[in-house]
């Protein structure tokens, strides 16, 4: 038994390095997606202290809108900006209907409100688009679908082109976002709101404009995530589940940290895949991916309560 836990997995890893690389790559790709979703959470949390549970359903909703528009005869390249318009309207509606009346309420109330939004969007989405699984319009959007094959150490390594596109796309998106947050006036306003609501308001930053903006950016991220994940697994309401996978990423990376979300996402993506392949499947009957990330984050938090990159918590009475 000890041999199975402590020796055999590592022997397997060393003896088949090409397979290990493949596993790490797969983990990396899902890690990028977790990081993207976590980024949506972090942005909204930073600027409004709202723990936005609806990020997952926003991913589904964005992807469904895109596919649904295309099914109704809108060309793919036109459907993309149209979906962005829909996400903008959604952000505006959420700000006007839900957030504005709830300003200054305790955190848990706002959190519950986002669960309310989630339920509403689930019902709304199913009503309009139907509950069945749809195929993402990968080719129509110009995303290559082939794959590269390498043979390191005489083994086999397959990298799918859409995964590579996803990784590059995510990197570009994150860089653009960081540039926006750190260099533009709007971005600075968002960070100012995150630091101190009242101080930001008093220097003339408009709360409602920034909230709409932040939710819209979260919508853009949701759309990107939806396209990438949809290309891998199809578009359905099951996608919502991956939002839960972003939560341990947040714990690990810290709720306020953009870089934490990215590094945490990649770490969890890779580690959970390794654990599943080398320990989970042979020893525990598989499907350990549902909880491994949470338990890992739990252990990290026991030693670093603010997460790996979160702001240090200073408490006063």
């Amino acid at each position: 038994m000890l041999n199975q836990i402590f020796v055999k997995p590592f022997v397997d890893m060393v003896s088949a390095p090409d397979f290990l690389l493949q596993v790490v790559w797969e983990g990396l790709v899902s890690g990028v997606l977790y990081a993207l979703i976590a980024l949506g959470f972090v942005l909204i949390y930073k600027s409004s202290r709202i723990f936005n549970f609806a990020q997952g359903i926003m991913v589904v909703f964005a992807a469904l809108t895109l596919v649904g528009l295309h099914e109704n005869g809108v060309p793919a390249l036109l459907a993309l900006p149209l979906t962005l318009v829909v996400m903008y309207l959604l952000a505006m509606a959420i700000e006007r209907v839900v957030l504005r009346p709830l300003v200054n309420q305790p955190d848990i109330i706002l959190f519950m409100a986002t669960i309310g939004i989630t339920l509403f969007l689930v019902g709304f989405g199913e009503l309009i688009f139907g509950g069945e699984n749809k195929v993402m319009i990968t080719e129509q959007l110009g995303i290559p679908t082939g794959s590269y094959t390498f043979e390191p150490w005489g083994g086999l390594l397959i990298l799918e082109q859409k995964d590579i596109t996803a990784v590059i796309g995510a990197i570009v998106l994150v860089l653009a976002l960081l540039l926006f947050l750190n260099r533009s006036k709007m971005g600075r306003a968002i960070r100012a709101l995150g630091d101190d609501h009242q101080a930001a308001l008093s220097v003339g930053i408009s709360l409602s404009t920034i909230w709409v903006l932040v939710w819209f950016i979260a919508g853009i991220i949701a759309l990107a995530t939806g396209i990438v994940w949809g290309a891998r697994a199809g578009v359905s309401f099951a996608l919502e589940v991956i939002a839960y996978k972003a939560l341990p990423v947040l714990m690990l990376g810290g709720l306020e940290s953009v870089s934490g979300a990215i590094i945490g996402g990649l770490m969890i993506g890779i580690l959970e895949k390794l654990f599943e392949i080398y320990w989970g499947q042979p020893l525990m009957g598989g499907n350990t991916e549902t909880w491994f990330a949470f338990v890992l984050a739990l252990f990290v938090l026991l030693f670093r309560p603010q997460g790996l990159f979160g702001e240090r918590i200073i408490e006063r009475v």
Partner: protein, 358 residues
């Protein structure tokens, strides 16, 4: 007028500490008890028992468990359904290992398993707070549901992977299983829920309850005045999980009749959190009001198209249902963030002077 307390004198400390010091409250309670014990069972149909009365009671109990943790001790938890699952599976194992065991004893015992698991998953609360803790409790949620699925011993190596409730007699009366009568099940559930509620009320208004409230309002300050945070938080997790475990056992044994692992998945946790929040955090009565709303709402919505003579079809109706529930949650949060219990308080204050303007 209706709620005037003038003239109600207390002549002893005992009377002053009574559960319901205001006479009107006590009268109201007796009316509710009368309704619950005599009127509802006599008038209810099979459908009302199964779709309304029994689930309302069970959901209230589960929400009460969560409310003790979140509303009184201030620790947000998203793992309620998993703790309910522990109670249900523990009862199942106890019943199948000791077939002679009294069902009530098995259910009350199973709560202790749930309490132990809850306390174990409550350990991180000593270091982390707020949403970090909420996510940490999700670890319990996902891990335990996975365990229910993979650990075949828990469901006695069934091929289906689900637990089936056998026929169980309670002092010679069939209470659980396919042939049990709804009215019997209702009385059994009512008894257990009443017992648990009475215990919780007394727990929350006594010394322990005050310790929890101190921890909730500011844990560092509580620590400074000499409260042992570790004991207080772990006790809150244990008591909360105990109640949730009992609710889970009732959920499966007295209502559903069978359970698959994914029954205890995260939507159930959220459902109970809704009930607790819409009812009102930090209130016992709120759980019952919240459960009534959340359980009755879909039942009522389902009857509306028939009443209007519309034919929408089952699937869209279900989706509209989800939408309306989501919308109503937001609506209630905006209208009264402190929940239905607070609404009742406001009504009560109105009744004190009603029908006069001042």
């Amino acid at each position: 007028m209706l709620y005037r307390t003038a003239g109600q004198f207390k002549t002893s400390y005992k009377a002053d500490h009574a559960l319901f010091p205001v006479r009107q409250d006590a009268v109201l309670l007796w009316i509710i008890v009368f309704l619950a014990v005599v009127v509802f069972p006599l008038t209810a149909s099979e459908f009302t028992f199964q779709a309304l009365l029994i689930p309302v009671l069970i959901y209230s109990l589960a929400a009460l468990g969560l409310n003790i943790l979140t509303g009184y001790a201030g620790q947000l938890s998203l793992g309620t359904a998993a703790f309910m699952g522990v109670g249900a599976y523990a009862t199942y194992k106890l019943i199948t290992i000791f077939p002679e065991m009294n069902l009530l004893a098995a259910i009350l015992l199973s709560g202790f398993f749930s309490a132990a698991v809850g306390a174990a998953f409550g350990l991180p609360s000593l270091r982390i707070k707020g949403f970090y803790l909420a996510i940490a409790t999700l670890a319990a949620q996902f891990f335990l549901v996975w365990l229910f699925e993979k650990w075949a011993w828990l469901y006695n190596y069934n091929a289906s992977g689900a637990i089936q409730v056998p026929n169980i007699d309670f002092f010679g009366i069939r209470v659980a299983g396919p042939t049990a009568k709804s009215i019997v099940q209702y009385y059994f559930v009512l008894g257990v829920v009443a017992l648990m509620t009475a215990l919780s009320i007394n727990l929350t208004r006594g010394r322990i309850g005050r310790i929890w409230k101190a921890v909730r309002d500011m844990d560092i300050a509580a620590e400074l005045v000499g409260i042992n945070l570790m004991k207080a938080k772990l006790l809150a997790f244990a008591v909360s999980s105990y109640i949730c475990g009992v609710a889970g056992a009732l959920f499966v044994f007295l209502w559903r009749g069978a359970a698959e692992p994914n029954l205890f998945d995260i939507p159930l946790s959220f459902r109970i959190l809704f009930i607790a929040i819409i009812g009102g955090l930090g209130s016992v009565m709120g759980n019952f009001l919240g459960a009534l709303l959340i359980v009755a709402l879909p039942v009522v919505i389902n009857t509306i198209p028939d009443a209007l003579g519309l034919d929408i079809g089952a699937a869209p109706l279900e989706h509209i249902n989800t939408m309306i529930v989501g919308g109503l949650i937001i609506f209630f949060l905006i209208v009264e963030p402190l929940g239905l219990a607070r609404l009742w308080q406001i009504i009560r204050e109105k009744f004190i002077i009603w029908p006069f303007p001042h």
